[in-house]
């Protein structure tokens, strides 16, 4: 007999509390003690700064927080009022709007104080513009731009080959360039902060990230094999994303161990996210951060449960890099971590092949694909990935909406679209 899973896992409560406490403590240290911190893209090497004990606020993390607190409509109205047209990217600009608004009473956790610098990886054509505007909004802070080189070929099964054979997968000339950029970032951060890059601590953290990745892989295998799904997708997201942002810390490893143990216990107890489970769905694309309840909207009526999203196991497949003790290898391994993340998550064939692999592992019956409107960096690979999934026998429905702009979301229409998909293409 399947038992409904408890509303929130103990691990989830711990992860949420950890993030909130960390942020508030960091903000206090910045405001009261003048401690340096950095605003950085999600696909930037936070590890370099963590090894110097410099706090990093990831842009999209704060964007998701703003959206989850239902503040995105307010900030996007400010964006309109400033003359930025309404098709400009939302996901990576929402935190900039909170800075321009300059109202710490309104901004989540009191807003982002002036950083030591902004680290931006120039993968799209507009990130550099957002970073420059943000720098100006703070009265001028350094922008460290990381150039984004590109692979000439996107070969098979990056999520396996990239763990150890990253020198081949990510190409020597690109790694040489990225190492050079990382060395520049280290020197810049040392100069601005007055702190030293601690090599031994950095290597320790790189090993911890590999350990965290191994734990996520173990958790992924447990969840993928379990019938029914033991925990809702929302719980998976909370427990994997917090260690992803805090990667390299001892907390990240101990938290994932606790989460794994809790999952094992739930599976042994026959817990079910949806006791009536009949259909297993993938959520393809970025998270719907202002409405995560949508992930559970089809359980009661159809027994349709979301089992996976790209955040479920990217810490395992995208972050792990094994390296030897040769001097410089840890930094080179780090160089290989971020230079192709966009291709892994958003560009076929890498995006498509990885998701088809997950569909098979999780026994998915279908996929709901968020195709970001007005954030096309996240949508460019959607159609080709849909073709690949459908060819692999996984029906797909597209939802055209934005991951953080709640103004564009029509809940009734989106619900109806997914219901029709379930009834017409999935119901057995």
């Amino acid at each position: 007999m399947n038992r409904p899973a408890q509303a929130r896992l103990a691990s989830t409560l711990a992860a949420n509390a950890h993030q909130k406490e960390e942020f508030q403590a960091f903000r206090r240290r910045v405001l009261e003690e003048g401690e340096p911190y950095v605003i950085a893209d999600a696909v930037a090497p936070h590890e370099v700064l963590h090894a110097m004990d410099i706090h990093v606020t990831p842009v999209v993390w704060y964007s998701a927080i703003i959206a989850a607190k239902q503040l995105s409509p307010y900030y996007f109205e400010q964006m309109d009022a400033r003359g930025f047209h309404d098709r400009l990217p939302r996901y990576t600009s929402l935190p900039l709007m909170s800075t321009l608004d300059a109202d710490p009473e309104r901004a989540p956790y009191g807003g982002l104080p002036k950083p030591m610098m902004i680290v931006s990886r120039f993968r799209d054509d507009y990130g550099q513009r957002i970073s420059e505007l943000w720098s100006q909004a703070y009265g001028g802070v350094p922008v460290f731009g990381l150039d984004a080189s590109s692979s000439a070929t996107l070969g098979p099964r990056w999520w396996e080959r990239g763990l150890r054979d990253w020198e081949t997968v990510y190409e020597t000339h690109r790694l040489d360039f990225q190492v050079e950029q990382l060395e520049g970032l280290i020197r810049t951060a040392e100069t601005l902060s007055g702190r030293s890059f601690r090599q031994l601590e950095f290597v320790r953290q790189m090993h911890r990230i590999n350990r965290a990745g191994e734990l996520v892989a173990e958790i992924r295998d447990l969840i993928a094999a379990a019938r029914p799904l033991p925990v809702p997708l929302t719980e998976q997201l909370a427990n994997v994303m917090a260690p992803t942002w805090d990667r390299g810390s001892a907390w990240s490893v101990s938290h994932l161990e606790a989460f794994r143990d809790e999952i094992k216990g739930l599976i042994a107890a026959g817990a079910a996210a949806c006791p009536n489970e009949k259909l297993r769905l993938l959520w393809v694309g970025n998270g719907l951060w202002f409405n995560t309840a949508f992930y559970r909207a089809f359980e009661e009526k159809y027994g349709a449960v979301f089992v996976w999203s790209m955040y479920s196991n990217f810490l395992s497949d995208g972050y792990r890099r094994y390296f030897d003790d040769e001097p410089g290898q840890a930094l080179r391994a780090l160089a290989s971590r971020h230079i192709s993340m966009n291709e892994q998550l958003h560009v076929p064939p890498w995006m498509a092949d990885w998701i088809v692999e997950q569909a098979r592992a999780y026994g998915a019956d279908g996929a709901v694909m968020l195709v970001p409107t007005n954030d096309r960096m996240g949508s460019f690979g959607s159609r080709l990935t849909k073709v690949a999934l459908e060819r692999a026998g996984i029906p797909v429905v597209e939802l055209h909406a934005n991951m953080v702009d709640a103004r564009m979301w029509d809940d009734a229409a989106m619900t109806r679209t997914v219901e029709q998909f379930i009834e017409q293409r999935l119901k057995r």
């Binding site: 513009r129 080189s149 360039f177 949508s379 460019f380 690979g381």
Partner: protein
């Protein structure tokens, strides 16, 4: 055929010269955008031809495989290349000068994987980056060397190709000066520039060398924003009594304003040139970019600026509010043609807006 008609014919049938070269036994290397070192293609002995988007063509392949928010130019190129319409080329070089071109490259590779029997030319990515950093320059030099190795050609031939292409840039600069002096229409300038990228160089020099003086409309406009795959906006302005005397968009005037350093090692000079001196959507920092187009604005004495943003712009809209304020501070009128459809623009609305702008310009 008049020289202008010859240039216009080359633009209307951009692969004709490449097909003639192919028929004569010469390899053809096509390229996209304006950030591929054409000098390397020519030094390798191939005929170089630029492929460009064409809003008049249907895009059934894109409808099937690409998301709707790809720019019209990219959708058009995906269909032209994927359908085999560019198979005169033995190789197509795609620069990483915009996100759209990079995704076009990957999408075409994926098309080949999904439909292996579909025949279209080999693709090569030229990973040129446009940030002004020294380490970036060294990376671009490495990619330029790799491209040179792939295309072949001796050092001597490369030096000659650099000199010849500089001569072409110089001729284009002279035409641009005529445009600024009111003796060449913007639409003729557009045709001459586009034709320089599809014709054999000598044929182009022959045509341009006999191009007559024109009496251009007196009202002077600058056109800024997305690239122009047709002369439509230039012609529209002319029909309303204005001339586009300056422009700032990828592939436009600024792409030919700087000569490659002939005294330096040609590969080093080419790498630096395409990293720093051929503007793209990714050129950085913005203050430097703004200084460059404001210099053109001053030089051309344009009386108003027309901003042209396409339907799914995710980039230039970040610059616009500050640029608009800069123009307001100078007392110059401006018009934003925003959300412009690539294939089916609202031409009546466009005409009315441009007409209103021109009426605001003091005589």
């Amino acid at each position: 055929m008049s020289p202008l008609a010859l240039l216009q014919a080359a633009c209307a049938d951009p692969l004709a010269a490449a097909q003639a070269a192919k028929a004569a036994g010469r390899p053809v290397v096509a390229y996209l955008g304006s950030s591929v070192p054409v000098e390397l293609i020519r030094a390798g002995g191939a005929f170089a031809v630029q492929l460009a988007g064409d809003p008049a063509l249907d895009t059934p392949l894109s409808d099937m495989y690409l998301d709707p928010e790809f720019d019209g130019e990219i959708r058009s190129l995906f269909d032209q290349i994927g359908s085999g319409a560019c198979n005169v080329a033995d190789l197509i070089v795609i620069p990483r000068s915009s996100n759209g071109l990079l995704y076009l490259y990957y999408s075409l590779l994926e098309l080949r994987r999904l439909e292996p029997r579909r025949a279209f030319p080999e693709l090569l990515l030229y990973d040129v980056l446009n940030t002004p950093n020294w380490s970036t320059g060294r990376y671009v030099l490495g990619r330029t060397r790799a491209l040179h190795e792939r295309l072949g050609g001796s050092g001597a031939r490369l030096r000659t190709a650099v000199e010849e292409h500089n001569a072409l840039r110089g001729a284009l600069q002279a035409l641009d000066a005529r445009r600024r002096a009111g003796r060449l229409s913007g639409s003729t300038w557009w045709s001459a520039l586009r034709a320089s990228r599809v014709l054999a160089p000598q044929d182009w020099f022959d045509a341009v060398g006999t191009l007559g003086q024109e009496e251009a409309p007196r009202t002077r406009l600058m056109l800024k924003g997305f690239g122009q795959d047709t002369p439509e906006l230039f012609l529209l302005a002319e029909s309303l009594g204005a001339n586009v005397v300056a422009d700032d968009y990828p592939g436009g005037t600024r792409s030919v304003l700087t000569l490659v350093d002939e005294a330096a090692d040609p590969l080093v000079a080419l790498a630096e040139h395409y990293q720093l001196h051929v503007p793209t959507l990714r050129s950085y920092p913005q203050a430097r970019e703004d200084a460059a187009w404001l210099a053109l604005l001053n030089q051309s004495a344009a009386q108003a600026v027309v901003f042209y943003h396409e339907e799914f712009d995710d980039t230039l809209g970040w610059d616009y509010p500050a640029q608009k304020a800069l123009l307001e501070a100078r007392g110059l009128p401006q018009l934003l043609l925003g959300r412009q459809s690539y294939r089916a623009p609202d031409r009546a609305a466009r005409r009315a807006a441009l007409s209103q702008l021109i009426e605001r310009i003091p005589a």
